[in-house]
C-alpha cells in the first residue's frame, strides 16, 4: 500500500492539568484509511489526546494538525469532518434510536433527502433497523455502542474518534463493531480507537502505546510483537502445580515474563536467552510448545519490569476443615426484579482452592448471581451454600467466612492505609493480638509498608487494589469474592494481582471472580459463562476452547469460544420466544 496522507499530525504535544502532565511531548502521525489503536491503562492520556484532537481542549505546548488545519486556530474548518464517540457513547437515553439519529442529522444540518439515505444505510449497516423506535436507554450495551457509532458516522466524517468503544461490551458485539469500523477505514476514513484491552491492539493497523502521558511505542502491532519471535512458549502442567510453577518460572533469570494461561504456563524469554529445562518447573517432561507472541507479551517485555513473585504465607484460613465438600454451591439460583428475571436457575459448584470465573456481557446476570452468593441479595428461588453454610439460614456465619472486594474497592479515601486496616479489622470483629498480627501480615504481604500513613484516596490504583484485597483478607476468609477486581488497572498491576490470587488459591482459599477481560479468564481454573440470566456453559478454559476447534479455527481463543457459545445459545432460544 502506498503511504496514505496523515490525517492527524501531533508535534511535541504537551497537556497539563494543574501539576499533572497528562501528555508529555507526544509526536506522532495518524494515517487516513487505517485503524490506529490508542492503547494504555486508565490515566495514560488516551481520552485527553482524543479531546485535544476533537478541539475540546487546548494544548499547553506543541501543535495538532487535523486534516491539514491547526486544532486551535482553525477548528471551524474541520469540525464537520470529525465523527466523535465519547466514552459511554454520548447518547440521549430518553430519546429513541430514530430521535438520536435525527438530532445528530440536525446538528450536521443534513437535508431530508440526504438524511433518509444515510439513515437507511446506517440502520441496515448496524442492524438497528428493527429497533428504530426503541429508547436508546433500553438498548443492550452492544446496540448502544452501534447507535453511538451510527450517530458519529452520520455526516460521513473523514476522521473518526472512538473513546473506548468496546468497554463493557460483550465480545460478539465487539466483533460486529470491528467489522463496521474496518469497512469505514476501507473507505479512506482515519479511525482512532482507544482501548484498555491490549488484545484489541493486535487488530489495529497501527498503534500508539501510552503510559503516564508518554508515548512508549508506536508502529504496526505485528512489528511490535515480531520482536518476540521464537521467545514465547507454553508449558502444559498437571493440575494443581500451575501457580507454583509460574512463580518458579517468573524468578528464573532467563524468563522475562511468566503467566498462567488455561492450565498451562506461558513463558516469555529474555532476549537471546535459552529455554530453561521444563523439569525445574515441575513439568512431567512434555516439550514446551512455541506459540505466537501476543501484544501483551511485547508490552511487558518492553517495560522490562521484574515481576516479583507474590508470597502469601501465613494465612490460617482453615481450608478443608469442613471435609471435602464444595466451597461454593449454587442450586437453581433465581432472582426476579419485578417481571424481569435477572438470574434464571443457575446451578454450579466450586471446589475448595479453586479459582472460578463468572464471565458474561454487562447485564447478563453475573453481578446478580454474585451478590446472591455473598449474601447481599436474597434469591427469589433456589439455595446457596458458601463455605459449608446455608446462606438462607445462617447468613451472618457465612459472612464471617467470606471476603468481599467490590469493583470500586470500598475504601475510605480520606483515611490513611493503616486507619482503613484498623477500621475493617474492627468491622470483622478482630481484637487484641490477632488484630495486630493480621494488620502486620497485611502490610507485609501486600507491600504497603511505604504508604502506611498516606491517605488511601491519593494512592495509585494498583496500591488501592492491593489495600482493598488486604482488607478483604483480614479475617482470613475461606472464600474470596472479587467483583471485576481489575477494571481500570493497568496490565502490569493486573498480572501482579493475579499472581497474588494464584498464591491465595494455593493456600486453599476459594476464589469467585467476575471479569469482562477475556485474557484474564485464562487465569481461572474453571469458568462459568453467564448469558441472558442463564449459566450456558461451565468448564476449564482449555475445555471450552477445545469444543470449538474446527478447520476454520484450529486454535480458537477464549473469545472465539465465548462468541460461539453465545451464538449457539441465541440460535436455540430464537424459535422459542423472540418477541422483540
Amino acid at each position: 500500500m502506498a503511504s496514505p496522507a496523515p490525517a492527524v499530525v501531533l508535534e511535541g504535544l504537551t497537556k497539563r492539568f494543574g501539576t499533572v502532565t497528562a501528555l508529555d511531548r507526544v509526536t506522532a502521525a495518524i494515517l487516513a484509511g487505517q485503524i490506529t489503536g490508542l492503547v494504555g491503562p486508565d490515566g495514560a492520556g488516551k481520552t485527553t489526546l482524543l479531546r485535544l484532537i476533537a478541539g475540546l481542549l487546548k494544548p499547553d505546548a506543541g501543535s495538532i494538525s487535523v486534516l491539514g488545519h491547526d486544532s486551535v486556530t482553525d477548528i471551524g474548518a474541520y469540525q464537520r469532518d470529525i465523527g466523535y464517540m465519547p466514552q459511554r457513547f454520548g447518547l440521549y437515553e430518553d430519546l429513541t434510536v430514530d430521535e438520536n439519529l435525527n438530532l445528530h442529522a440536525d446538528l450536521h444540518d443534513l437535508d431530508e433527502a440526504t438524511r433518509e439515505k444515510r439513515f437507511a444505510d446506517l440502520l441496515s449497516f448496524t442492524g438497528l433497523l428493527p429497533f428504530k423506535s426503541r429508547l436508546a436507554g433500553q438498548l443492550s450495551g452492544g446496540m448502544k455502542q452501534k447507535l453511538g457509532l451510527a450517530c458519529a458516522l452520520l455526516a460521513r466524517p473523514r476522521l473518526l474518534l472512538l473513546d473506548e468503544p468496546s468497554a463493557g461490551v460483550d465480545p460478539a458485539s465487539r466483533r460486529e463493531l470491528w467489522r463496521i469500523v474496518r469497512t469505514m477505514a476501507g473507505e479512506g476514513v482515519a479511525v482512532v480507537w482507544s482501548t484498555a484491552y491490549l488484545d484489541e491492539t493486535e487488530r489495529c493497523d497501527s498503534f500508539l502505546l501510552f503510559d503516564g502521558g508518554r508515548l512508549l511505542a508506536s508502529g504496526a502491532p505485528a512489528d511490535f510483537t515480531g520482536r518476540l519471535k521464537d521467545r514465547t512458549f507454553l508449558i502444559d502442567l498437571p493440575e494443581g502445580q500451575r501457580h507454583e510453577a509460574q512463580r518458579v518460572a517468573a524468578a528464573h533469570p532467563d524468563v522475562a515474563d511468566a503467566t498462567i494461561q488455561s492450565g498451562s504456563v506461558r513463558l516469555v524469554l529474555k532476549e537471546g536467552a535459552m529455554l530453561p529445562d521444563p523439569k525445574i518447573l515441575g513439568g512431567d517432561g512434555t516439550v514446551p510448545r512455541p506459540i505466537r507472541p501476543r501484544f501483551e507479551d511485547a508490552f511487558v517485555s518492553l517495560l522490562q519490569v521484574e515481576t516479583k513473585p507474590a508470597v502469601m504465607d501465613g494465612l490460617h484460613n482453615g481450608a478443608g476443615l469442613e471435609g471435602n465438600g464444595a466451597a461454593i454451591e449454587a442450586h437453581e439460583l433465581t432472582r426476579d426484579f419485578g417481571k424481569f428475571r435477572a438470574v434464571d436457575h443457575v446451578t454450579f459448584t466450586v471446589a475448595p482452592g479453586e479459582i472460578f470465573g463468572l464471565l458474561g456481557p454487562n447485564g447478563a446476570g453475573k453481578s446478580t448471581t454474585f451478590r446472591m452468593l455473598c449474601g447481599l441479595l436474597e434469591p427469589s428461588h433456589g439455595s446457596a451454600h458458601v463455605a459449608g453454610v446455608d446462606l438462607g439460614r445462617a447468613r451472618a456465619t457465612a459472612r464471617e467466612r467470606i471476603g468481599y472486594m467490590s469493583q470500586r474497592f470500598s475504601l475510605y479515601g480520606n483515611l490513611s492505609v493503616r486507619d482503613n486496616l484498623d477500621f475493617f479489622s474492627g468491622v470483622y470483629g478482630l481484637a487484641g493480638a490477632r488484630r495486630r498480627d493480621r494488620i502486620a501480615w497485611t502490610i507485609d504481604s501486600f507491600d504497603l509498608g511505604a504508604v502506611v500513613d498516606a491517605e488511601a484516596g491519593g494512592l495509585p490504583l494498583g496500591f488501592k487494589q492491593r489495600l482493598a484485597l488486604g482488607c478483604a483478607l483480614l479475617h482470613e476468609p475461606r472464600v474470596l469474592f472479587l467483583d471485576e477486581p481489575t477494571s481500570g488497572v493497568d496490565p502490569l498491576m493486573r498480572r501482579a494481582f493475579w499472581q497474588r490470587i494464584g498464591a491465595l488459591a494455593d493456600l486453599g482459599v476459594t476464589i469467585l471472580v467476575t471479569s469482562h477481560f477475556m485474557d484474564e479468564a485464562e487465569y481461572c481454573d474453571r469458568l462459568g459463562i453467564v448469558y441472558a440470566g442463564r449459566m450456558i456453559a461451565t468448564g476449564r478454559p482449555d475445555e471450552l476452547k477445545r469444543r470449538f476447534v474446527s478447520v476454520a479455527m484450529p486454535e480458537p481463543t477464549l473469545e472465539d469460544a465465548f462468541v460461539a457459545l453465545i451464538e449457539s445459545h441465541d440460535a436455540e432460544a430464537r424459535p422459542a420466544g423472540d418477541a422483540s
Partner: protein, 377 residues
C-alpha cells in the same frame, strides 16, 4: 443554508430534543408542575402564621357573671377556643403538655375588684413562648379579646365617662390577615427559582455526566445554540409552572389578585431569565448533578426562601442583612408579586423592582454566556 443563523435546523433540532426530554423525563415535569402544587399545599396550609382556633385557657377561680362574660368574649372570636379551668395549676399542666397555647388567670376576687373603681382588677396572661412569633400573635389576640370585653362592659353600663380615645384597627391590603395571601406570592417566586436555576443546572450537569455534552460540542453546533435551546425550553416550562402556581393561588387559596396579568407575566419572565442564567452559571462550575443541586439550593433556593421577604420581613432584619438581601434577585420579585397580588399595579414599587431584575438578567446572562465555552477545561 438553512443550518446557519440562530434559528436554523440545528437550533430546531436541539429545541425538539429538549422538549422530548422534558416530556419523557418524569422528574422535569415533577419539578415544574407537580412540585408547585405540593409546595403550595404543604407550605400554604402547613406554615400558617395565623392564629385561628387557638386553645387558650381561662382560669376562673370564682365563677361569676363578670368572669363568664370575659370567657364569652374569648369564645366569641374566631381566634380562640377557650378552655375553662378552676385552678391555675391545672392550666399550667395543660400548657406543659402543649394542650393550650396560653392562659389567663382571673383570681377569686376578680368580680369584686372589677366593680370597684378604686382597686383595678388584675388579669394574669401566660403564653407558651417557645415559638416567639406564635407567642406574640397569641398575646396580641388575647389582649385584643380583653380590650373587647372591657369596651363591651363600658358600653353595656352606659357609663357617663366616655373614653378619651377609641382605637379602630384597619389592616390594609390583607384585611383578614390571612397568611396565604402573603405566602402564596412568595411561593411562586420559590417555584420559579427551582425551575429556572435548579432544573437548568441539573439538566446541563446531566449532559456532562452522560457524556452527551461532549458529543454536542464536537458537532458543528455552536455553544450559543446549545445553551439557547436549553433556555428556551426551560423558559416555556417555567411559565407553565407560573400558570399552575398562580391558578392554584387564586382559585384554591383564594388569594386576591389586584394587579394586571400582563404585568405579572412580564415581571415573571424577567425573573425567570435571571433564574435560568443563574442555572447556566452554576452549570459552568458543576459537572455533576449532585454538585449542581447543592449549589442551586445554596445560592438560589435558600436566599429565595429566607432573604427575599417571603418568610421574614426584610424591614425588620438588621441593617447589614438588609444590605445582603439586595444582591438576591428573588427579593425584588417577591416584593413585586406581593404588590401585584395584594395591592395592584403600584408603579412606584414595581418600576424599581423591574429595573433591578433587568439589571440582574443582563449581568447574569452576560457572565453565563462568557463563561460557557466550547471547551472541557
Amino acid at each position: 443554508m438553512s443550518g446557519g443563523g440562530p434559528f436554523g435546523r440545528r437550533f430546531r433540532g436541539l429545541l425538539r430534543k429538549e422538549f422530548v426530554q422534558i416530556v419523557r423525563d418524569p422528574s422535569s415535569i415533577a419539578i415544574a408542575l407537580v412540585m408547585p402544587v405540593v409546595l403550595l399545599i404543604l407550605i400554604g396550609y402547613g406554615i400558617s402564621l395565623d392564629a385561628r382556633d387557638v386553645r387558650f385557657g381561662v382560669v376562673d377561680e370564682n365563677r361569676t357573671v363578670e368572669s363568664s362574660g370575659l370567657y364569652q368574649s374569648f369564645a366569641s372570636t374566631p381566634y380562640f377556643r377557650p378552655v375553662r379551668f378552676v385552678d391555675s395549676r391545672q392550666a399550667e399542666a395543660a400548657l406543659m403538655r402543649g394542650d393550650i397555647a396560653g392562659y389567663a388567670v382571673l383570681r377569686g376576687d376578680f368580680s369584686r375588684k372589677v366593680v370597684d373603681p378604686l382597686r383595678p382588677a388584675e388579669i394574669g396572661i401566660f403564653v407558651n413562648g417557645v415559638d416567639s412569633n406564635n407567642a406574640r400573635i397569641v398575646e396580641g389576640y388575647a389582649l385584643g379579646a380583653l380590650a373587647n370585653w372591657a369596651q363591651g362592659r363600658l358600653s353595656d353600663r352606659a357609663q357617663h365617662a366616655r373614653p378619651a380615645v377609641v382605637l379602630e384597627h384597619r389592616y390594609w391590603f390583607n384585611p383578614e390577615l390571612r397568611s396565604a395571601n402573603f405566602i402564596v406570592p412568595g411561593l411562586i417566586a420559590m417555584v420559579m427559582t427551582m425551575i429556572g436555576a435548579l432544573l437548568t443546572a441539573l439538566v446541563v450537569a446531566r449532559e456532562w455526566e452522560r457524556g452527551t455534552m461532549e458529543a454536542l460540542m464536537v458537532s458543528p453546533a455552536t455553544m450559543t445554540e446549545i445553551m439557547l435551546g436549553k433556555l428556551v425550553a426551560y423558559f416555556v416550562l417555567g411559565m407553565g409552572g407560573l400558570a399552575v402556581s398562580v391558578g392554584l393561588g387564586i382559585f384554591v387559596f383564594e388569594v386576591p389578585f389586584r394587579g394586571s396579568f400582563p404585568v405579572l407575566i412580564g415581571i415573571s419572565a424577567v425573573f425567570l431569565v435571571v433564574s435560568l442564567a443563574m442555572g447556566l452559571l452554576i452549570s459552568t462550575v458543576a459537572r455533576s448533578q449532585f454538585v449542581a443541586a447543592q449549589l442551586a439550593f445554596l445560592i438560589t433556593f435558600m436566599p429565595a426562601l429566607i432573604l427575599s421577604g417571603l418568610m421574614f420581613d426584610i424591614e425588620t432584619m438588621p441593617a447589614w442583612i438588609q444590605a445582603v438581601t439586595t444582591v438576591f434577585a428573588a427579593r425584588y420579585y417577591v416584593s413585586s408579586l406581593q404588590t401585584l397580588f395584594l395591592a395592584g399595579d403600584v408603579w412606584p414599587i414595581l418600576l424599581p423592582n423591574i429595573a433591578a431584575l433587568l439589571a440582574f438578567a443582563a449581568v447574569f446572562l452576560t457572565v453565563a454566556i462568557r463563561r460557557t465555552r466550547r471547551s472541557l477545561e
